[in-house]
Symmetry: C2
Subunit: 137 residues, 2 copies
């Protein structure tokens, strides 16, 4: 927090200085007004870049889900649910209990998921899903 205040203070100071300098430079006629404006624009452009780089943290734990990709992969609603539970580290049995279906059902879902994601294992399915930003975490 202290650091942030300090940085902002310095930035404000630097800007005020910049204004003074630019005005003085213009009045003294060393440069044309276009160049000064371009310079100012450039400086503020990079300040904008810097500021937003400083707070790259995501809004929260929930990421954006790429629903388009899910449809492209022909993942059904149920299959997607199972995929999410896989990514949470649950076993087939645990998923079956959570979704109130038999383990056989979960297995068929998993097989279909692996085919659609072109994965050999559930761990690879997790990796691919993260790559495609399909998972909500």
């Amino acid at each position: 927090m202290k650091k942030t205040i300090l940085v902002f203070g310095l930035i404000v100071l630097a800007l005020l200085l910049l204004f003074k300098i630019s005005k003085h430079t213009y009045l003294s006629g060393d440069f044309s007004i276009e160049i000064i404006i371009a310079f100012i624009a450039l400086v503020f452009f990079f300040i904008g870049l810097f500021i937003s780089k400083k707070q790259p943290k995501h809004t929260s734990g929930t990421k954006e889900v790429n629903h388009k990709k899910i449809k492209e992969l022909n993942l059904s609603k149920r299959e997607y649910q199972v995929l999410c539970e896989i990514a949470m580290g649950l076993s087939n049995k645990e998923i079956a209990d959570k979704l109130f279906v038999s383990e056989s059902t979960v297995k068929t879902h998993v097989s279909n998921i692996l085919i659609k994601l072109n994965a050999k294992r559930r761990t690879q399915a997790i990796q691919i899903s993260k790559e495609l930003q399909i998972l909500p975490f």
Copy 2:
């Protein structure tokens, strides 16, 4: 891609227009130079913000790794390597080939990893590792 080009084209056009307007406005003496400069600065500041917001997705292909947690968990160097390969979706055999060891060795490493991470399965180990921000991706 087309979209990006279009947006950039529009931005360049807008900026050229802005320059013309600002110069004309200044010459006509409607506003002082300070206000014009401030306006330009503001516009470019937000352009900077906008640009860097547009590509925040792949800025961090590599995340920060919590080395402290790794030591707290008593994960050895080799175990950590295996853990990373697990998270990449590799099978025990594939990990063994990649690290030039036998599958047995990988299995013992995996077992130790599961104990240390307090996980029942490798998928859960992945989930926990992500939670603890141990993985470099």
